[in-house]
């Protein structure tokens, strides 16, 4: 019973149509949330006692950093599913994630640098969190580079899946680096279990922003997923109706 939906998700025509239907929903809701977060974060939220208006960078820095980790995790999980159960749709999902994850890792690094300069006085320090986030960018680029080096899409899928899975060790390193080592980077202000250390009027736009970015990612990845699924379907009959001009 529970496996039915799993098998359906593995069916290319089903996932193609589902993705097409979900994208506008995710996209528009994300747009509303992000605009709301933008207004709330830039206008409504009060300036910080120590960091003045500069703290508002967190409304883009934190969600993009969160995305960089979350996307890699999903990419590795999809790659593992594709490798173990030989499901093409899973490989398509992993491929769809990579460019989005890479670009937002870069954004997280850049916004982090622009936040770090006024706050710590330096654009870059080789502290554990920044270094491991930089390594995450290299992992994404290596993944994309490995994919590109194969002519055969199936070989590319399977080889890059191994790389994605091996690289997953970096994700907990990035996340826990602020706890394990003395880091210049701020520790977690948000906690699933404990009390948040950030004031509520500043917290709301952050939560809106994170949710908005997550839905935005879903909308974009589903578009890429449809493209990747098409690339992996050769003579399938269902394509005819879908791509008819």
């Amino acid at each position: 019973m529970t496996w039915t939906w799993f098998h359906r998700l593995g069916s290319p025509p089903y996932i193609y149509r589902l993705a097409g239907r979900l994208t506008p929903w995710f996209g528009w809701i994300a747009a509303v949330l992000l605009l709301g977060a933008l207004f709330d974060g830039l206008v409504l939220a009060p300036p910080d006692y120590q960091q003045g208006d500069g703290f508002r960078i967190i409304y883009v820095h934190v969600p993009t950093a969160w995305l960089s980790l979350m996307i890699y995790t999903w990419m590795a999980v999809a790659a593992a599913v594709g490798l173990i159960w030989r499901i093409k749709v899973a490989h398509a999902a992993a491929a769809a994630c990579a460019p989005i994850g890479a670009s937002f890792t870069a954004v997280a690094l850049v916004t982090g640098m622009l936040f770090g300069k006024p706050m710590w006085g330096a654009y870059w320090v080789w502290d554990p969190r920044l270094t491991s986030e930089l390594l995450l960018l290299f992992l994404y680029l290596g993944y994309m580079g490995l994919r590109a080096s194969f002519d055969d899409l199936q070989r590319a899928d399977r080889a890059s899946a191994v790389l994605a899975i091996v690289g997953i060790v970096n994700v907990p390193i990035v996340h826990f680096s602020v706890i394990w080592w003395n880091s210049l980077h701020q520790g977690s202000s948000l906690s699933l279990t404990g009390k948040d250390t950030i004031a509520t009027p500043m917290l709301i736009p952050l939560l809106l922003s994170m949710l908005g970015f997550t839905l935005y990612f879903l909308a974009v990845v589903l578009v890429r997923l449809r493209g990747e699924v098409l690339r992996r379907e050769r003579a399938a009959s269902w394509i005819g109706e879908v791509v008819a001009p």
């Binding site: 830039l42 206008v43 300036p47 003045g52 208006d53 500069g54 508002r56 960078i57 883009v60 820095h61 993009t64 460019p99 989005i100 670009s103 937002f104 870069a106 954004v107 850049v110 916004t111 622009l114 936040f115 300069k117 006024p118 935005y216 974009v220 990845v221 578009v223 890429r224 449809r226 493209g227 990747e228 098409l230 690339r231 379907e233 050769r234 003579a235 394509i239 005819g240 879908v242 791509v243 008819a244 001009p245």
Partner: protein, 54 residues
């Protein structure tokens, strides 16, 4: 209004941050749609070629 853009002196860090983020947001949308469009064209071409061969 200019007070808003000044952002308490942090403007030259804050606005580029938001700008870079916006750039990535827009670029990913364009890139994704381009990928889908090219995949559809490629699929159409493959089907046409198969339709022609007996």
């Amino acid at each position: 209004m200019s007070h808003f853009f000044a952002m308490g002196g942090y403007a030259r860090y804050l606005w580029p941050s938001y700008g870079v983020t916006l750039l990535a947001v827009v670029a990913n949308i364009i890139w994704a749609r381009g990928l889908l469009r090219r995949a559809k064209t490629e699929a159409r071409r493959r089907l046409d070629m198969q339709g022609e061969s007996p």
